[in-house]
């Protein structure tokens, strides 16, 4: 057993680096399909600093998570390098809204059935869809939700555009999770 720990200690000692690790957060409010407003938090992590051999290194998570009090988390995921973060459709989802050039939501009639993995909404800054690397501290993201699911009436959030507060960046040790979403002050 002692030998195993010695072996691990050598490995750990040789991997000490100087990368800063950060948690990014942005608070907002979303509406459930039952019409109830609820506090929501977008969060993700990023590294910023230098690798052990001195080379500058910056990387943020390619997707972001949204947690809401009392409901399962949602995720906006990235695609290619500059592709916007997208909420992927699930089985049975249908597209019921689209976003106009003026960032307005308009209904789609009749709704368009979507295969799993398609675009059910995105993260935007000033009306344009963005990847996670564009979400800098101080900027105010918005998320759109464009789908519903007739077989899942409790699917949330309800279709809409939700604007979030300024992004905060906090230095953290390891992947420390955000604070309690249910006791956070609603905006």
């Amino acid at each position: 057993m002692l030998q195993r720990y010695a072996f691990l200690a050598i490995l750990i000692a040789t991997t000490t680096g100087c990368i800063g690790h950060y948690r990014y957060e942005s608070q907002g409010t979303v509406v459930t399909t039952q019409g109830q407003s609820t506090h929501a938090l977008l969060y993700w992590y990023g590294d910023d600093g230098r690798l052990w051999y001195g080379k500058p290194y910056r990387q943020v998570d390619s997707g972001i998570s949204m947690i809401v009090c009392g409901l399962p988390p949602k995720h906006y995921d990235g695609g290619g390098e500059d592709d916007p973060l997208v909420l992927r459709s699930r089985d049975g989802d249908q597209l019921i809204r689209r976003v106009t050039d003026d960032s307005e939501l308009v209904p789609i009639a009749p709704p368009e059935p979507l295969a799993p993995g398609k675009n059910c909404g995105e993260v935007s800054l000033a009306g344009s869809g963005v990847p996670s690397k564009a979400l800098e501290p101080g900027s105010k993201p918005a998320i759109s939700v464009l789908c519903d699911n007739p077989s899942k009436p409790d699917r949330y959030p309800a279709a809409g555009i939700y604007r979030f507060e300024s992004i905060n960046r906090t230095k953290v040790k390891d992947n420390v999770p955000p604070g309690d979403i249910c006791t956070a002050t609603p905006l």
Binding site: L11, Y43, W52, G79, E81
Partner: protein, 278 residues
């Protein structure tokens, strides 16, 4: 017995390269904690059971001859002996998997049996695998897809695995060492379904040497969420009713510490909750 989606979900944890024995492995506890923390973070309660699949003892048994040999040649030099023992333990696991030895087949049979236990009891199952375990998980799922009576088209209740999560996977590596192809490209078994897809969420850290194949931990080139696994399997999965999502994640760690940090990433816990109950 078909999957009864009202029953508690099962999460099967498949570990990666390990030293020690099955008793030293705590992947089941780690995934249970990760999931429970995610549920608590969102203040929701759901029933689930985390299950561990262990194969280190099978590997150790297969490596017994080499261990004895190492002990014999390092007699009188305990430090060298200890290091060599660890090297055999770690490297042996990789060789077993990449060369598709009879030991690898035995491990896949045992994993399939474990998966089918959940299926036979009607519980929805997702697999969370790490490192070398991702190779066994992918291969075993493909074998089950090719098994009569399972994965019957769009009838999701006939799917013994409802989703796959891979973390720190070497599946994207395209290496040849001493003439031996390490982690040859897998053949993705197509699911004969029209609408349903098998979600595969692949989490990777650019600094993880098992993902990049870079011994000294230099970052692997990616494009957004597309890393080595997505480059290698993106087309095959999309043609086979699989839905592969790549996720670049960060942990503030480098090299092998980046490789073991996935187990504590809250965003992976949130994803598991979303996959099972979202």
């Amino acid at each position: 017995m078909p999957v009864d989606f009202t029953k508690p979900a099962h999460i099967l944890a498949v570990h990666g390269v390990q030293t020690g024995t099955d008793d030293d492995i705590d992947s089941q506890q780690k995934i249970e904690k990760l999931t429970n923390n995610a549920l608590a973070r969102s203040h929701i309660e759901r029933d689930f059971e985390s299950i561990g699949f262990y194969y280190e003892d099978i590997n150790d048994k297969a490596q017994k001859f080499y261990r004895l040999l190492a002990r014999a040649i390092t007699r009188g030099e305990p430090l060298v002996g200890a290091v060599l023992k660890q090297v055999i333990d770690l490297a042996g696991d990789v060789v077993t998997a990449s060369a598709n030895t009879s030991t690898a087949k035995k491990i896949r049979r045992k994993l399939a049996k474990k998966i089918l236990e959940s299926y036979d009891s009607g519980n929805k199952l997702i697999i969370v695998s790490h490192s070398l375990g991702t190779v066994y998980a992918l291969d075993t799922i493909c074998e089950l897809i090719n098994t009569d009576g399972l994965f019957n088209g769009d009838d999701r209740s006939s799917w013994p695995v409802q989703g796959l999560v891979t973390m720190g996977s070497p599946l994207g590596l395209d290496l040849e060492i001493l003439g031996q192809v390490v982690f040859a490209k897998r053949s993705i078994a197509p699911i004969d379904a029209q609408y349903q897809v098998l979600p595969w969420h692949n989490f990777f850290n650019r600094l993880d040497p098992i993902v990049s194949g870079h011994v000294f931990g230099s970052p692997v080139e990616i494009s957004g969420s597309r890393g080595p696994v997505e480059r290698r399997y993106g087309t095959d999965t999309s043609q086979s009713q699989w839905l592969l999502h790549g996720h670049a994640v960060t942990s503030g760690k480098q090299w092998l510490l980046a490789h073991i940090a996935y187990w504590k990433n809250p965003r992976i816990g949130d994803r598991l909750v979303d996959m099972l109950w979202g």
